[in-house]
């Protein structure tokens, strides 16, 4: 099938099998190998990317379903020498060991800070009507879709906390 995929602000014409997941399209067809394949079943979060500003597991999406959507991958956040605040904070705080889960962690963390800024509650928010507390329990719960086999969780938490002000934790409107 012929499709056009918009990734990190660039439009790409692709001719792909309809079975191709968004993750495989990014990695194998567009050479954007930052997004990783851990489980390929929606369980680990290594493949997290943004679609229209929301985090999703790209291994659970068909590329052909995303014509007209705006996809952002880790490559779209920053690059060596010009890291985004979250990327820099992960380096500063040892938010990884092998680094395999890291692109997914960072993409997820970026959305998470935005959801937080917009006052979305989580499973551990007691009061649904008040603004949630930026506690470790909240961060952990909200990052629960991203597993780290090296168990770099303490560093991940610190990095997210540290980068939060620079990432703005601001309110934004993302399309569905």
């Amino acid at each position: 099938m012929q499709i056009t995929l918009s990734v990190n602000g660039e439009s790409h014409a692709l001719d792909i099998d309809p079975r191709t997941t968004l993750l495989d399209a990014l990695r194998d067809h567009l050479d954007l190998t930052g997004s990783k394949k851990g489980c390929d079943h929606g369980q680990c979060g290594a493949c997290t990317v943004h679609v229209n500003g929301r985090r999703i597991n790209s291994c659970l999406a068909l590329a052909v379903m995303h014509e007209g959507d705006e996809v952002t991958t880790i490559e779209g956040l920053g690059e060596p020498g010009n890291l985004s605040p979250l990327q820099a904070a992960f380096v500063r705080h040892d938010g990884f060991q092998c680094g395999y889960c890291t692109p997914g962690q960072i993409m997820s963390a970026k959305s998470m800070l935005e959801e937080f800024g917009n006052g979305w509650p989580s499973n551990v928010t007691d009061d649904l009507t008040a603004a949630p507390d930026f506690s470790d329990a909240e961060i952990k719960e909200r990052m629960s879709g991203n597993l780290c086999r090296c168990s770099a969780y303490p560093g991940i938490c610190r990095a997210i906390r540290d980068a939060a002000p620079d990432e703005g934790m601001h309110k934004t409107e993302a399309a569905e």
Binding site: G42, L60, E115, G145
Partner: protein, 262 residues
């Protein structure tokens, strides 16, 4: 995955047409269907994506109830029903993890009728009605058993309607690895009676615990549940996470917790 054709219609009418092909399958958020297809447990000849159908999306006030488009994601339901129906919002906000909630939809969840899914309990307790491309089906008749519904071949869940109760709560005993409920109970109190819907427990999927409904309709208090014996454990799911008797016990405990939290 086995090979399939792909279509992404823009209207319900076109989707119904596309689904006329033999072995065609409606594909909503895909959070269950994608893994199923990858494991080759499903082999559709054609995948019809419902994600581009604008008329199937959104949350609206509908008389005294709420209308939720079938292709509305859990994240959207969580956000949009926060004021109008907090118990339903909290159910939606606790499904899976955030990435799953950004894709998974209410229509997909009820159509799949996983015996441990959250939505069937919320919809059944909320006197829900399942709207399809051809009719409206009361939730009481819709959920027929584990992974079974009243849907016919090619029929699409276009919306779900719920009645907003006086008060309600969803008490979920979470299975921490999968985030599915090990057992969960949605209790909803209406002016003329109480509804208690249980998911994650029974071999035949979501069900109403009518003994508890009767007891609570007469005496709206957690104590009213005390006098009841737990439902029969022999019909309950038994797996490495818990025996049938354990789940039966949880039904009672979670019902009490739900009422106490109202």
């Amino acid at each position: 995955m086995y090979d399939f054709e792909f279509e992404r219609p823009r209207s319900i009418a076109d989707a119904v047409k596309a689904l006329k092909t033999e072995e065609a399958i409606a594909f909503s958020g895909g959070q269950t269907l994608m893994p199923t297809m990858k494991q080759r447990l499903a082999m559709p000849s054609k995948v019809v994506s419902l994600t581009a159908i604008e008329e199937m999306r959104g949350v609206r006030q509908d008389g005294s109830g709420i209308w939720i488009g079938g292709a509305t994601t859990h994240a959207t339901v969580a956000r949009e029903t926060k004021d109008s129906y907090p118990a339903l919002s909290s159910l939606a906000a606790r499904i899976g993890d955030p990435a799953v909630r950004a894709r998974g939809t209410i229509g997909g969840s009820v159509a799949n009728n996983d015996p441990s899914a959250c939505y069937p309990a919320g919809v059944l307790a909320s006197r829900g009605v399942i709207v399809t491309d051809r009719r409206e089906i009361p939730a009481d008749d819709f959920f027929e058993g584990m992974f079974m519904t009243a849907l016919e071949e090619g029929e699409i869940v276009t919306a779900v309607k719920v009645e907003v109760p006086e008060t309600a709560h969803y008490a979920k005993f979470i299975q921490p690895a999968s985030r599915f409920p090990l057992t969960a109970v949605f209790v909803a109190k209406y002016g003329d009676g109480v509804r208690v819907a249980v998911t994650g427990a029974s071999e035949s999927g979501v069900f109403r615990w009518t003994e508890a409904e009767d007891a609570l309709s007469g005496d709206w208090s957690a104590d009213a549940v005390d006098g009841l014996s737990a439902p029969d454990g022999s019909d309950m799911i038994s797996d490495l996470h818990g025996t049938g008797d354990y789940r039966a016990h949880l039904v009672k405990v979670m019902t009490k917790r739900a009422v106490a939290a109202c």
